[in-house]
Amino acid sequence: MTKSKKSKTIKVDYLARVEGEGALYIRYDDSGVQDVQLKIFEPPRFFEAFLRGRDYMEAPDITARICGICPVAYQMSALHAMEDALGLTPTPELRALRRLIYCGEWIESHVLHIYMLHAPDFLGYDSAVDMARDHPRVVQEGLQIKKTGNAIVNLLGGREVHPINVRVGGFYRIPTLEELHKLGEELLTARGLAEQMVRWAASLPFPKFERSDGDKYEFVALTHPGEYPMNEGRITSTCGLDISAREYDRHFREEHVPHTNALHSLLRERGPYMVGPMARYNLNAEHLSATAKKVAREVGFPTFCNNPFQSIVVRSIEVLHAFDEAIEIINQYRAPQAPYMPSTAQAGTGYAATEAPRGLLYHRYSLDEDGKITDAKIVPPTSQNQKTIEDDLRIMLPKYLHLPEDKLQAQCEQAIRNYDPCISCATHFLKIHLDRNGRDNP
C-alpha cells in the first residue's frame, strides 16, 4: 500500500487464495472511494480462437482445460451445446449420470473454496494449513468431504481434474452397479460431515453488509420446474428475466474495459448482475433436498440471502444438497441402454448454459457440415460477476476507511473471495465478436 498526501490507494498485486492471477486497485480519499479496479492479469490463452477448426467431439476435452477446478462444468456446457446443434436429446438415464458427476464437482469445488480459500479469512489465518494447527478436526473433516466429491468425479469421469469419460451423446463407459453402490456408501458416511459443515459455516462471524434499495443485486441463475438447477433450465433473474439459453446473446453483452484481461458481462437492459450459489439459492431454495432445507432452517438461515459474506453458508447448503441428490441418483439408478447415443456431424449452431459451481456458464458453437467448429463463444461465471464484485467493494469500503491499512486490505480481499472468483476461467473471452456495427454479436 502506498500513501500520498490526500488520496490513498490500496494495491494488491497478486490476490491469494483465488484461482488464477488477479490484482486489485482501489483509490480513495476522505470524501470516499474514487476508483475500484479488479484486474485480471492472467495471460489470455485464446480458447475461443483455437477451437475454430476443431472437431465437435473434441470440445469437451479441450474446454475442460480452461479451468482445472471446474472442468466438468465446461464439459457439460460444451456437450449440451453440441447436442443442441446436432438435435440430440440424451435419455433420462444418461441425464441422471451427468447430474451425478456434476454433484461431484459441486462438492469438491465448493469444499475447496469453503475450507481452503474462504474460511481462513473469517478465522484470521493465512491458509487452511495454518488453520489446521488450531482446528485440526474442522480441516480434516473438510478434506474428508472433499475427497468424497473427488470420488464421484473419479468414478464417472476417470479422474478428478479433466475427466476423460464424458462425450457428446453420453459417456464412453458407464459405471457398474457394484462401483455405484460402493460410491453410495462413501456418500452416506460423508453426508453427516456435510451436515455439520453447514452448522459450522453458519456460526462464522459475518461482516454486516447491505446494499441499499437503489443498489440491489439482480441475481441470475437457471431455474427448472422440478429440480435445483444444475445441468438445465431457463435463465431467470430476480428482476423477471426468463429466457432460454438460445436467447442469451440477445439479453447479455460483454464490455471491454482497459484495466482487465477479462470482459465484463452485463445485462443489456439493466447492467451488472450476480451469478453463483447465492443466485441459485435465492431463485430456487424451494427445490433443495429435504435435509438441506431442514438444516438451513435449524441454523436460522433465511431463504433469501443478501449478504455476500454469507455465500460460504450457501455453498455448504449446496454441498449438502449435492450429497442428497447424488445418493438419490444412485438409489434410483437404472442403467442406460447404451453408454452413449451415436451422433453424426451436421451444420448448425448450438447453445447451452449450465450451473458451474461459481455460477452460470454459457457456451455457443457453430458447426459446419463436417462437424468442425466455425465459431465459439464461452462466457464463464467470473466475467459475469466482475462488475458486481467491484460494486460491492465500492459500497462496502466507506464503512471501513477508518481501519488500519492492512485490515482494510484484508477486508477487501475477503469480499472478493465471497465470489470464489475463478480467474483462469475469466480470461477466455478476451475475444470480442465485433459485427459491422461494432457491437458485441450476434
Partner: protein, 268 residues
C-alpha cells in the same frame, strides 16, 4: 534442521496441476508438517521470502513479464521442477505457435493495445534450466508426491518413461486398437495416468505428451492406413495439450506440410 522450503508458481495455465497438490486430501497436512509451504498463492496469503529449496512451476511462458519472472524464480530456487503439459510443452495455448500470429492476434484482440502477450507459448525449459519435468495434463498426484519426496531425499524420482501401452498391459486391459479398431495414441504417449482412457473404452488422446523416443511416424501411418482415420484426426491428437512437445510438433508439421504440398487432398 530447518524444514525444506517449498514454493509453487503459476504461469499461463488452468491451475489443474497445482490443484493436484490440494487434491491430496490424505497427504496434504502431513506434507505441510514435513516441508515449509513458503509460497503457494492459490492456497495461502503468506509469502515467505526465498531462496526456496524446491520450486514447482505450472504453466507456460506467454508474456514478456513472465519471461522475466521465470528467471527470477530460477534464481530463487535450488531445485526447479516443472509440472504439467503447460510447463513442459507450452500447453494447449501453444496452438498459437502454429497459427499465423498476426492474423490470429487480429481476430482475437479487438483492442490489442490493452493486452500484452507474446506470439508464442513456450515451455519453462526454453527459458531457464529445469531439474525435472513431470508430464501430464493434468499431472498425476501420486507421481507428484513421488517427485517431491525424491527431491527432498536427494534421490532420483521413480517416474517411468515408457508408453501408456505398458500401463494398459499392466492393468490387464484389452487393447482398444487391436480389439475394436479404435485409434489410440497409447503407443507414443508417456505413461503416468494409469492408462485411464483405454480402461474407459476410448483411445488415448495423448494428454501425457510424448514418451521417450516415440515412433510417431509409424503411429500416424498406421492410424491412416490400417484404421482409416482421417489425417485430421492424427494431426488433431498430436496438436492438443502437448502440441509444442518437439516429437509431436515435428510429426504434425510433417503431416500438414505434406497436405499443403498435395493440395490439401490427402484422404483416400
Amino acid at each position: 534442521m530447518d524444514k525444506a522450503k517449498l514454493a509453487v508458481w503459476k504461469f499461463a495455465s488452468c491451475d489443474g496441476c497445482q490443484l493436484s497438490l490440494l487434491d491430496c486430501e490424505d497427504e496434504l497436512l502431513q506434507l505441510a508438517d514435513t516441508v515449509d509451504i513458503a509460497y503457494f498463492k492459490e492456497a495461502s496469503s503468506r509469502e515467505a521470502e526465498g531462496p526456496y529449496d524446491l520450486s514447482l512451476v505450472e504453466g507456460s511462458i506467454t508474456t514478456a513479464a513472465d519471461r522475466d519472472r521465470i528467471r527470477e524464480v530460477r534464481r530463487q530456487s535450488r531445485n526447479l521442477i516443472t509440472i504439467g503439459a503447460c510447463a513442459t510443452a507450452g500447453g494447449i495455448q501453444a496452438l498459437r505457435n502454429f497459427a499465423d500470429v498476426e492474423e490470429f492476434t487480429a481476430v482475437v484482440y479487438a483492442e490489442p493495445q490493452y493486452i500484452a502477450t507474446l506470439g508464442t507459448s513456450t515451455p519453462i525449459s526454453a527459458h531457464v534450466s529445469v531439474d525435472f519435468e513431470l508430464q501430464g495434463c493434468p499431472i498425476n498426484k501420486r507421481q507428484l508426491l513421488e517427485v517431491i519426496s525424491a527431491f527432498l531425499h536427494r534421490r532420483p524420482p521413480q517416474i517411468p518413461s515408457h508408453s501408456v501401452c505398458i500401463e494398459c498391459k499392466l492393468r490387464g486391459n484389452v487393447c482398444v486398437w487391436v480389439a475394436h479398431g479404435t485409434p489410440c495414441m497409447g503407443p507414443v504417449t508417456h505413461a503416468g495416468c494409469g492408462a485411464i482412457c483405454p480402461t474407459y473404452n476410448r483411445g488415448c488422446y495423448g494428454c501425457y505428451g510424448p514418451k521417450e523416443n516415440p515412433n510417431t511416424g509409424s503411429l500416424s501411418h498406421w492410424w491412416q492406413r490400417e484404421l482409416g482415420a482421417e489425417e485430421a484426426t492424427v494431426v488433431e491428437n498430436l496438436r492438443n495439450f502437448n502440441a509444442g512437445a518437439p516429437a509431436f510438433e515435428r510429426e504434425s508439421r510433417r503431416w500438414t506440410d505434406r497436405q499443403s504440398r498435395e493440395g490439401g487432398h490427402d484422404k483416400e
